[in-house]
């Protein structure tokens, strides 16, 4: 079983591009100035790193919610090393999850991250075939 996903990417001049999905939602891309762009938007590689952290976060947040844990603040610091020579792929990626909440435990966060990274996150499911991905987390109790 599979579903089909379609996007159209349109050139907007120089290295500016805009991608649109079937519902009309869009995202813009540009290149860094030292690669001929104008830096009006994130680069494709920055977008991929952000997509990985966001994909994993969707599942972490959903799992924590299902466990009735009250997350009050949440962020991920994503760091990646990149090859200098083409193709300038990521050579390693680290995700640091920072979860704040009133009744959030380290055990619950660790287990949610593990489930997300090992089973649910689709972006990670692809990227980890090409790049080693590691993670760490910090839990801050509030209230």
């Amino acid at each position: 079983m599979s579903t089909t996903k379609k996007m159209v990417v349109e050139w907007k001049g120089n290295l500016r591009l805009e991608a649109k999905n079937e519902k009309g939602l869009t995202v813009k891309f540009d290149a860094p100035k030292d690669h001929g762009g104008e830096e009006t938007a994130l680069s494709p590689m920055e977008n991929v790193l952000a997509s990985l952290a966001s994909c994993s976060s969707f599942h972490v947040l959903t799992i924590l919610k299902k466990k009735r844990l009250n997350v009050t603040d949440y962020s991920v610091e994503a760091t990646a090393e990149r090859r200098e020579d083409p193709p300038r792929v990521f050579t390693k990626i680290h995700l640091k999850y920072i979860v704040k909440g009133t009744n959030v435990t380290s055990e619950a966060v660790e287990s949610a991250i593990k489930l997300s990274e090992e089973k649910y996150c689709s972006v990670g499911g692809m990227l980890k075939q090409a790049v080693p991905i590691t993670s760490s987390f910090e839990v801050v109790k509030q209230g």
Copy 2:
């Protein structure tokens, strides 16, 4: 040799997230309604597909410009099949490049796409480890 890339992803409530690079450029993410989101922005997987097409386009457009070919319009239709079961990875991806211009030849476009996909595109350099990626193109002469 390698360079480091950092992004911070912040939770904005429900399944809305915003990623920011070190220069303050941002991209938003949301989940589809049938996955608990509000569809205010593209999903991470849509963003990855758009990033692949955009990354490859940067190199195709740059190569055609270096060859002094006058591209007047350019777009890519990206189509991907996705697994139904988690992790819901892409199982195949197709990119269809549509290039319009006054002096653009099929040979030049074909060679630019080949160079981009085989050598330069970093997003493709990672994704092709996990997913078969195919491409086709259409050249429209104008003027």
